[in-house]
Symmetry: C2
Subunit: 120 residues, 2 copies
């Protein structure tokens, strides 16, 4: 099926709270994920919640990358919406190693159908 975009979601549990509490530890992770792709950053916004917890969003030429962390639950959610193909396995492996968690779930949703497909 020909889709317009691919939406990848990582739900990561059982993560040490300390390493997902502050923006300084999240920004390098997001940048590393982008380095594993061909995506280009257009804009970046981030919010440090008090006392802990971070939201960071990258507006990309090819859609967006977001992260939300809930240190109190040892949980973070990463979303990558892209209109170009992504090698998701490389990102999943990076996240498993980084967060030393085996509770990493990746969900892929195909988004939209091209007009080309509609007319066939």
């Amino acid at each position: 099926m020909k889709s317009i975009g691919v939406h990848l979601m990582w739900d990561i549990h059982k993560v040490e709270s300390d390493i997902i509490s502050y923006e300084k530890d999240i920004a390098p992770v997001m940048e590393h994920i982008i380095s594993l792709t061909t995506l280009s950053i257009e804009n970046y916004s981030s919010k440090q919640f008090e006392p802990v917890g971070v939201t960071s969003i990258y507006l990309l030429s090819e859609s967006h990358l977001s992260i939300h962390t809930w240190p109190e639950h040892g949980y973070l959610a990463i979303d990558l919406f892209s209109c170009v193909p992504i090698e998701s396995d490389k990102i999943t492996e990076y996240l498993k190693t980084l967060y030393q968690s085996e509770d990493v779930k990746m969900t892929q949703v195909m988004r939209g159908k091209s007009r080309e497909m509609d007319t066939k």
Copy 2:
């Protein structure tokens, strides 16, 4: 099941290209969606693609709202990730009326499980 967040995705096809081509027409839609919720805006970023197409992302106190439009396909994708409950039906009705499309698909994904649930 007790989740940390709810992720709502709207995939809307068969939309008149002219009304999803430019940022000036997208910002009011996003603001109206937020007005149908109890969500609070922390930050906003947007990109007008050339010749047409828009990405807008709102960083919210309760997660994020994003929109990507592909006027050449008559398609737009809206995502709302929230850690508070959302009355999604109201938003779906608004979008159907606004874009005069019956090809509006809403997908709901529950994101994360609370530690409270883990220990039960």
